[in-house]
Symmetry: C2
């Protein structure tokens, strides 16, 4: 009798095990059938293009020498604070002067972040209508905006600087530039997107700046 019970238990356990494996497999398959693992990423990434309206640095019509330049430095190595890939694009000022170049919002959106970060210095974070996070770092100073404020594309956020890479107030650790980061949240996971092609795409759409904004 005991032996029979033992055999029965063993049988049930094996059966349960098989059902578990089968269910797991089926679940996995139905998932990959209905939705590719990059579907949400691809949809969120598409939405960025709909949200961007302006290049983040205006054009100085009064002084055409005040240009900017940028390269595709996606995932180029950075060393401050440990080796890491460069998750963004640096827009360099032709004239290395703090507080000279205004920075404008590329999108409509809401200010969700303002303040110091060791790596980013004084930064502003904006969430666009499609839920994309735009990160503007190394600012010299802020415009009159606070967390929770709504902004329109082209609204001034602050001025380009060289803040960051140290405790609050650190400046001059690198040349004056805007670090632009763009982040999406597929499957709830923060993921950076290369801003370079997006910048190239809107390069000709600049707010015109006739005098100091």
């Amino acid at each position: 009798m005991r032996k029979k019970i033992h055999n029965l238990c063993l049988g049930i356990l094996l059966l349960a095990f098989c059902i578990c494996l089968l269910t797991a497999n089926l679940l996995e398959e139905s998932q990959s059938d209905s939705q590719k693992p990059w579907q949400e990423y691809s949809e969120m990434e598409q939405a960025i293009w709909e949200d961007v309206k302006y290049f983040p640095v205006p054009e100085f019509t009064s002084d055409p020498t005040l240009t900017v330049s940028y390269e595709n430095s996606w995932m180029a190595e950075r060393t401050y604070g440990g080796k890491r890939g460069h998750e963004g694009t640096d827009i360099m000022a032709a004239k290395n002067e703090r507080g000279l170049y205004p920075i404008v919002s590329m999108t409509d959106g809401v200010v969700t972040k303002k303040g110091w970060l060791e790596k980013g210095g004084y930064r502003i974070g904006i969430v666009s209508p499609n839920g994309v996070y735009f990160y503007y770092a190394h600012l010299d100073s802020y415009a009159d905006i606070e967390v929770g404020d709504e902004v329109k594309a082209g609204d001034i956020l602050g001025y380009m600087g060289d803040s960051g890479y140290g405790p609050e107030g650190t400046v001059g650790q690198f040349a004056v530039h805007l670090h632009l980061g763009i982040y999406i949240y597929p499957n709830g996971e923060e993921t950076s997107v290369n801003p370079y092609w997006i910048l190239r795409y809107i390069e000709n759409r600049k707010v015109k700046c006739y005098t100091k904004m």
Copy 2:
């Protein structure tokens, strides 16, 4: 004695089961740590931007009325051959005339497909240096190219038409246009990418067409 053996067997089985579950979990975690499920998609998608050099329809400097227009019809519904999403961008001719507008390759690459498809009509397929597949459909006629030929960006592939939606040679089922499809192969799986933003990005880079090419 028998009972002991049975208990031992049961114990070993349970242990094996636990080890299996643990291993599966660990493998899964290490995978998601090192690589997000959309990593390959995102890398391949980035590569498209590096490969595209020209808008697929030249600019007619001799007749500026011969323009084209296109919209973001990504995944808009199509019904021919069963309901499906529109995996591409239609570039419509302002002048509805077969064989008038040349179609040029957007990228360097190799011709991998040429010939009739029920939905696509006469089409050319080009694989670009980064392994992206460019699909040019509904052509009226071909340039002097064959499968296996290398092409340079800006090389003429054929002429815009209205072929397709039927057996070989069918024309006139819709207005003259170029259907452009762009495909990448993350994890070996064919995936279409919205060409709209890429077209917008290179809209100002058109081959100049002084006379009929």
